[in-house]
């Protein structure tokens, strides 16, 4: 590896941090979901980096599973967003309190 794996892991950590800020700060559910996709991708980058550093395939397998879970999560999350928008016109997750006990 020409580029040391630490650089990749650092890049992954930076992306993860940006995604965390997005999830916490933004109130638009669509952008929150996209920030979650950023988190998934950052984790995947770390997995693939270590797979390459150790020449081990399991990292690739796990990244593949993460991609699958991310697809399922995006589908369900967007369905929930669509249903929520049908009921209320606000683009704000703070207003969605239907599940509050």
């Amino acid at each position: 590896m020409i580029v040391p794996p630490e650089a990749y892991v650092a890049l992954s950590a930076v992306l993860f941090s940006i995604g965390v800020v997005g999830v916490i700060v933004r109130r638009n559910p669509l952008i929150m979901l996209m920030s979650i996709e950023l988190l998934f991708n950052a984790a995947n980058l770390a997995l693939v980096t270590y797979a390459r550093a150790w020449l081990n395939d399991v990292g690739h397998i796990f990244a593949f599973l993460v991609i699958t879970v991310a697809a399922a999560e995006a589908a369900i999350g967007l369905a929930i967003v669509a249903v929520t928008f049908r009921k209320t016109p606000h683009v704000d997750v703070d207003d969605v309190a239907v599940l509050k006990g």
Binding site: P5, F16, V21, L55, A70, T88, P89
Partner: protein, 196 residues
């Protein structure tokens, strides 16, 4: 090294743009740049199959799903961007938290450097080398068959869940028909705001 620097710059910039963009469509464009750059980084890590999957699944399927939902929601009556866009008073704690994560990861990596296995994984593109489709398939279907099957189950659950949530089928399997409309009139997706 230069390629990695450029790609890292593109990824960080597009990620920041995704998080800070005011309109969700702009966020989708930023996310697209991020995904494509990540696919190229996967290629540099000899994860060919994952690079292709990144393009097909993320840039293809998931982003199109986002675009569809945005188009569907903003085709209603009301303008799309209403209400406060950011949670009040959490920006500084959120950045602090993120910097904590960042510092923790980088400090850990610096303290114990990653031991790279010395070995030539072979030229990219030939079969049976690390990260190729053949190698990935053998690893997936021999040693990791159970996680693969669990993946199928997860997708099945997701499909059923989406149909239950967004479809017209009620919780007990009862099909709740909507009242028939005449073909001319079109129901606005965004209705009048309810009284708080």
């Amino acid at each position: 090294m230069i390629a990695f620097a450029i790609l890292a710059l593109v990824m960080v910039a597009s990620a920041i743009f995704t998080v800070t963009a005011r309109r969700p469509v702009h966020s989708v464009v930023g996310l697209l740049a991020n995904f494509v750059a990540l696919a190229i980084i996967y290629l540099s890590l000899q994860a060919e199959f994952l690079a292709v999957m990144q393009i097909v699944v993320y840039s293809g399927a998931i982003l199109i799903l986002f675009v569809f939902v945005i188009a569907l929601l903003s085709s209603g009556v009301a303008p799309f961007d209403i209400g406060p866009d950011r949670a009040k008073g959490v920006l500084a704690p959120a950045i602090l938290f993120a910097l904590l994560i960042l510092g923790g990861v980088i400090a850990t990596v610096l303290r114990s450097p990653v031991a790279v296995v010395v070995g030539n994984p072979g030229p990219t593109g030939t079969p049976q080398v690390f990260g190729s489709v053949a190698d990935f398939g053998i690893a997936l279907f021999n040693d990791n068959l159970l996680p693969f099957e669990a993946t199928a189950f997860i997708l099945l659950v997701a499909v059923i869940g989406v149909v239950l949530i967004a479809g017209d089928v009620g919780p007990a399997g009862v099909i709740t028909r909507r009242p028939r409309k005449r073909p001319g009139d079109r129901e606005p997706i965004v209705k009048e705001p309810a009284a708080r």
